[in-house]
């Protein structure tokens, strides 16, 4: 099945997104990154690293697990419950500009859950959405502010993002399922 982004491509996309973030947000003191578990977390850390390399500023970075906010959680009580991971947001999000980071934007339901979860931590000034891949097929009125790659897909396909930190290599693959 086709690999649509290789490691170099993923790296370039993240570098470009980091520059776009800097272009649109002048007050770096107010920025914070929150990655959605699992693969949004390493992506958020990498963006933080890239911004540090450019500007020598440390952007606070957190991790958000949205499982407990999913809208499909109790609807199909036939399978075991999904595993919950830790949410770690070690800073106040009040009045911050939050960059919410995920790997794939699809139906938008994960982002809906993440917005609900995030707002319970405080009242950010703004929330912007960063995704590595936007594959379309939105079911909710949600749009990304920064996109690594727009990837038109059919509903029968699945998009697999692999990252060094979790999977041992960086790539994005489209699979027929």
């Amino acid at each position: 099945m086709p690999v649509v982004m290789d490691g170099a491509r993923v790296g370039r996309s993240l570098a470009r997104i980091a520059h776009e973030i800097l272009e649109r947000n002048h007050d770096l003191e107010q920025l914070a990154l929150v990655g959605i578990r699992r693969r949004g977390v390493p992506l958020a850390r990498r963006l933080s690293q890239i911004i540090r390399d450019i500007h020598q500023v440390e952007i606070p970075t957190g991790a958000l697990d949205i499982t407990l906010y999913r809208d499909d959680l109790m609807r199909t009580a036939v399978a075991a419950q999904p595993i919950i991971h830790k949410t770690e947001i070690g800073f106040s999000i009040d009045d911050k500009r939050i960059l919410l980071v995920d790997d794939v934007l699809y139906t938008g339901r994960t982002i809906r859950a993440a917005l609900d979860a995030l707002i319970e931590f405080g009242r950010p000034r703004a929330i912007q959405l960063v995704v590595l891949v936007d594959r379309g097929h939105r079911e909710l009125p949600i749009k990304a502010d920064y996109v690594g790659k727009n990837l038109p897909t059919s509903l029968t396909q699945s998009v697999q993002v692999r990252l060094q930190e979790i999977d041992g290599r960086d790539e994005v693959e489209v699979q027929e399922s």
């Binding site: 109790m74 419950q81 830790k86």
Partner: protein, 306 residues
Amino acid sequence: MKKDLLSISDLTSDEIYLVLDTADAMREIGQRPIKKVPTLRGKTVVNLFYEPSTRTRTSFEIAEKRLSADTLNIAVAASSVLKGETLADTAMNIEAMSPDMIVIRHPSSGAGHLLSRICRSRIINAGDGMHEHPTQALLDAFTIRQHKQRIEGLKVTIVGDLLHSRVLRSNVLLLTKLGAEVWVAGPRTLVPAGIEQMGVRVSTDIDRAVADADVIMMLRIQQERMNGAFFPSLREYFEVFGMTRARVARAKPDVIVMHPGPMNRGVEIASDVADGPASVILEQVANGVAVRMAVLYLLAGGSEAD
């Protein structure tokens, strides 16, 4: 997971670790400004308590509320049980109002099993007579793992009223399943017959039992369940089996001292141990909420039975 949590033997060791890992994630919710997630919204949980309880009932109730479940407490003192209704009838009547889960504490061993046969609701045993108290053992394991990063290979010494203790039975099942070396100690009259078949070392010499222990777990002297003279006096019990600083000093230097509560200070544990640096007794209470949230969450999903 099975439909109900009645006994630690309902759980495989993988499922025990799943509960502990889930509890680890749940703990963070208690540190947020808004200590609530919407996960069990629209689910009804009945807390049916036939015995007095502060810690366990409060802990379950907080856990249920943090997960947004609708909770209701039935305290038997103010219920139709006093008018002579049997447990089975009470259970069927509650079941008729279709709750999703029932948390039961009862003085008779097996009360949860009875409910499990009658009810479609998920049943959580919050202590049944002298049988089991599985969520206590899970929160104890969580607390041990927090301090020791593991359970396998630890020496855990459990001291006190072994005979009447459901906390003991659940803890022994759990700790031996996860590979701890479990010692139990108490007066001969309070050692249940055949306890060594559960895979524990039995001793009536507390000093030997606590030597080099990683964990000391104290059990309450349950005077309300004692219908005979098991030892001459509480004072003498304390002399021979009470946990004093001198005895704690025989264990490993980084030993932790646990107690499921409520404590009888000066009977099974000296105040300076209960409040001392090795004591993790209040951490156990704090962890209880996270562990019960984990159990409620995991049981609310599907089960092998569905």
